[in-house]
Subunit: 96 residues, 2 copies
DNA sequence: TATCTATATGAATAATTGTTCATATATAAA
DNA sequence: TTTATATATGAACAATTATTCATATAGATA
């Protein structure tokens, strides 16, 4: 069983790297239930607007979150069920 | 749903951080089937013995791999099924 | 005991990355 | 059109981290 060529190895590492930051984990956590706008996220995770925005960009670029505009606000949500699954599996692991 | 207090947030990030490196991903990949000794791992993943050893220490410390001694050699293997599951889920995700 | 092989590890270096601060952009409201 | 609010972004800095090189340790064999 050899599941990974060189490209996929890097893709895998990049994917998990995204999950490997406290701020991003917090953001994903608060997005588990419902979409939220940037300032709501910033308030909930207790991080500056700028820092949240930077991290959302990273999450967006790696397609872990999606967003929609509504007037002045931009609402972010998890991109798909896979993101939740990976999060949940990690959650299970640390609670063992 | 708020699954994470501050400690668990950090634990989650730390867990995924371990998966977030190409060398460690390669090591986990070659350990999917069977245990291997350090120099076999080094050969298979094409990284120096020293680098592999450093990474194995990190994997060991975070309890993602276990090991047993046999004479001169030390055989490493994945710690439990969770490690494989997380790896597989990541694999699924990047192959979407 | 002396030597060889397998593994571990400390220090140094280079590279990556997260936050802050200042500011830009864009939409809404007055 | 002017002002206020929400979001994005570039530069700078500090911190973290992966590799290399040299070397240490420990078990096996001669």
């Amino acid at each position: 069983m050899n599941l990974l060529n060189d490209d996929k190895t890097i893709d895998m590492a990049e994917l998990f790297k995204i999950f490997g930051d406290s701020t991003r984990i917090k953001i994903i956590n608060v997005l588990l239930d419902s979409e939220l706008c940037v300032c709501d996220i910033a308030n909930k995770v207790n991080v500056s607007q700028s820092a949240v925005s930077h991290q959302l960009r990273i999450l967006k670029q790696s397609k872990l979150v999606k967003y929609r505009k509504d007037g002045n606000c931009i609402y972010y949500s998890l991109a798909d069920d896979h993101v939740k699954k990976i999060f949940m599996l990690g959650c299970e692991h640390i609670n063992e």
